[in-house]
């Protein structure tokens, strides 16, 4: 769909207003306290204009950029994961009568709320949504709540211009410029793709159209026609962003590296640093593990089943009668990284890591998945030894 438009920076409000008038709840990056998070966007002024971020192992700081960029930062503190897949939700509500043999009724909960428009979703996080489409909505059993929220969502992706030191999407093939289509379904990855161009006295977005719905919105807000050269500008932005990334995972060998590393001595090493705190899993945009919690009142007559995010780093995660099957932290870290970089591919035909770098930034101990993967590669003999620098 070779339709390129130009949206002046001043036109962002019109875009947001148009989405809102179409009934969407617009969700995107916004500054809250010490971080850029994902929240409701009512106007362009809710966006973190002029803000950038510095991210590296166990450090995150928001900084002032000294310019007017709306999207001059890397991955927000949390991805769009909670938008379609909230941390906690009610699966069903039940009630028991007492006079009649514990007769009870159960009513499934159906999520309501306006359809979602994601504004400013990054390529890594967009890929993570596609992965969730496969995991939660593309198998014989689906997560009905996820499907309900995901269907009918509108996506305005924003290509990444300012990767953080923690980013490695380029090596994962998931960014910084999003793929036009979802490689699994062939559907358009986005309705609209924006690339922010910040010149001396010019501030605009190159707008690429992904769907008819996207085109309708572009027409409605009067985004002017662009030229192929404008797309070259956009690609130049993401090419430069890719070139600035310093971390990487070698995807050509990583699946086999993890396969071969089940008994690696590296696990003891990483377990000495790992806090088993679960942060990496809970900021990961693809981690999908949940538990159920049955909540009842004092009488026990009203009960609810909640679906709540869970983590393979907690001891209770693998608990069966007699104890957890993964008692040690080393077994839990091995499970997590092996799932992300190896068994995910066996299960779903894709890797479970999109290179957003959040697990590196938000690990309070600074454990770096790229470093661990590289070390395992060297120790397994499947990767070349580290070059002398």
């Amino acid at each position: 769909m070779d339709d390129i438009r130009i949206l002046q920076a001043s036109g962002l409000d019109a875009l947001i207003e148009e989405l809102r008038s179409r009934g969407f709840r617009v969700v995107g990056p916004t500054l809250r306290g010490d971080a850029i998070v994902t929240g409701e966007i009512r106007a362009a002024s809710d966006l973190p204009r002029g803000k950038g971020d510095s991210q590296d192992a166990k450090t995150y700081r928001v900084r002032s950029r000294g310019d007017d960029a709306y999207f001059g930062f890397a991955a927000p503190a949390q991805s769009s994961k909670p938008v379609f897949f909230p941390a906690e939700e009610v699966v069903w509500r039940g009630h028991r009568d007492h006079d009649d043999d514990g007769h009870f009724t159960v009513e499934r909960d159906t999520p309501d709320g306006a359809p979602i428009a994601l504004l400013g979703v990054r390529s890594c996080d967009l890929r993570a949504v596609q992965i969730h489409d496969r995991v939660l909505a593309g198998r014989s059993h689906v997560d009905a709540h996820y499907v309900g929220r995901r269907d009918g969502a509108f996506v305005v992706a924003v290509a990444c211009s300012d990767p953080a030191a923690s980013c490695f999407c380029a090596s994962m093939g998931t960014g910084p410029r999003p793929a036009t289509t979802d490689p699994e379904t062939g559907a358009s990855s986005y309705d609209l793709l924006l690339t922010e161009i910040l010149g001396e006295d010019d501030h605009h977005f190159v707008m690429e159209i992904g769907t008819d719905a996207g085109r309708e919105v572009a027409d409605e807000i009067g985004a002017s026609m662009g030229h192929p050269a404008d797309r070259d500008d956009a690609v130049a932005v993401t090419d430069a962003a890719a070139a600035r990334q310093t971390r990487a995972i070698d995807t050509t060998i990583v699946h086999d590296v993890l396969r071969a590393s089940a008994e690696s001595p590296r696990w003891e090493d990483v377990a000495s640093r790992c806090l088993a705190c679960t942060n990496c899993t809970l900021v990961c945009p693809t981690c999908f593990c949940t538990t159920v919690q049955d909540v009842s009142d004092l009488t026990g007559d009203s009960a609810e089943r909640h679906r709540v995010w869970d983590s393979c780093f907690s001891e209770s995660f693998s608990y069966i009668h007699g104890g957890p099957t993964r008692e040690s932290t080393k077994a839990r870290y091995r499970q997590w990284i092996t799932h992300k970089l190896s068994s995910w591919e066996d299960q779903f035909g894709m890797l479970g890591c999109v290179g957003c770098g959040r697990c590196i930034t938000w690990c309070p101990a600074g454990i770096d998945i790229t470093e661990e993967a590289a070390a395992l590669g060297r120790m397994s003999g499947l990767a070349a030894p580290a070059p002398a620098t």
């Binding site: 699966v91 069903w92 028991r96 043999d101 514990g102 007769h103 009870f104 159960v106 499934r108 939660l136 909505a137 198998r139 014989s140 059993h141 689906v142 997560d143 009905a144 499907v147 995901r150 269907d151 009918g152 969502a153 509108f154 996506v155 379904t185 559907a187 358009s188 986005y190 309705d191 769907t211 008819d212 719905a213 996207g214 008994e263 999908f288 593990c289 949940t290 538990t291 159920v292 049955d294 009842s296 026990g300 007559d301 009960a303 869970d310 393979c312 995660f317 693998s318 069966i320 009668h321 099957t325 993964r326 040690s328 077994a331 499970q335 092996t338 799932h339 068994s343 066996d346 299960q347």
Partner: protein, 286 residues
């Protein structure tokens, strides 16, 4: 998103996450701590299932546990589950009085598919309450007994008091030409039966390994050594099937708890063949 919306994905009409109501018709005590629950659906047809499948049983206000179905697949009503009283949910289930309604989700998971063993010898190896998930498979075989060669049931339990379905095993031996061999780990003074681990029975049991199929269910450590002993006697590895146990919350492959490397035990299992499991069972804490 808008493009994908063309194909609406709708959850199954019978939502697998919402329990169906069943009434307890009877709770039968089998051993000191093991009980069989007989259930009838409050509404609608009885649940049809294949041998080896499990359900999620829900005690209202207490919680939910995965339990293998122990009844006859050819006679699905009443629905049977054999449960050991070990936790809060199982305790509530086995102590519920007849008439009490409980929730049932499922059936979930893979089957023993004993049909594959037709014309060959069939060896069931099990211990303790592991006999319960195998019972539907045994009943499948006995229903068409003449399609199979020798049928052996090698059964181990901790003590003579813990032997599950003892009368039924004797009946199978007497009436259905099943070679039942029992052993106990610990016996009181004066016990005349065999003492030792069930895996020790495999070496001397009379079956033709080359044409045999083995169905194994018990604690993981027992299954590991049983499978290894069976393979050692020459039973082809793809003919050895085991039933795995892992933490399960959803039963439909979504919650992630039951993962064993690339497997979701709840949908890829619980019944899996030995070639698939062997490399996974040999790594500790996988």
């Amino acid at each position: 998103m808008s493009t994908a919306a063309a194909e609406p994905r709708i959850a199954d009409a019978g939502d697998p996450m919402v329990p169906r109501r069943y009434a307890i018709t009877r709770v039968r005590q089998d051993t000191r701590d093991t009980f069989t629950l007989l259930l009838d659906p409050v509404n609608g047809a009885p649940l049809t299932f294949r041998a080896g499948q499990f359900t999620m049983l829900h005690a209202f206000g207490v919680g939910e546990v995965p339990i293998s179905i122990s009844g006859d697949p050819a006679a699905p009503a009443p629905l049977e589950h054999t449960i050991r009283d070990v936790g809060a949910v199982t305790h509530a289930l086995v102590n519920a009085h007849p008439g009490t309604e409980i929730g049932v989700r499922g059936p979930f998971g893979t089957s023993w598919d004993v049909d594959d063993a037709a014309d060959g010898d069939v060896v069931f190896v099990t211990g303790g309450i592991g006999l319960a998930p195998l019972r539907p498979a045994i009943l499948d075989v006995l229903r068409e007994r003449d399609r199979y060669g020798k049928v052996l049931l090698l059964y181990g339990s901790r003590t003579p008091d813990d032997i599950l379905f003892g009368n039924e095993m004797h009946r199978w031996a007497d009436l259905n030409d099943v070679n039942v061999q029992m052993t106990v780990d610990n016996a009181p003074y004066g016990y005349t039966g065999k003492v030792g681990f069930v895996t020790e029975l495999i070496a001397r049991a009379g079956f033709n390994p080359r044409t045999s199929w083995a169905f194994v269910c018990g604690p993981e450590v027992m299954m590991r050594s049983a499978a290894s002993a069976l393979a050692g006697r020459g039973v082809p590895a793809p003919h050895i099937r085991l039933s795995m146990e892992r933490s399960m919350k959803c039963g439909i492959g979504l919650c992630g708890h039951c993962q064993l490397r690339d497997l979701f035990i709840c949908v890829d299992g619980p019944v899996l063949d030995y070639p698939r499991l062997e490399p996974l069972m040999s790594v500790r804490e996988l």
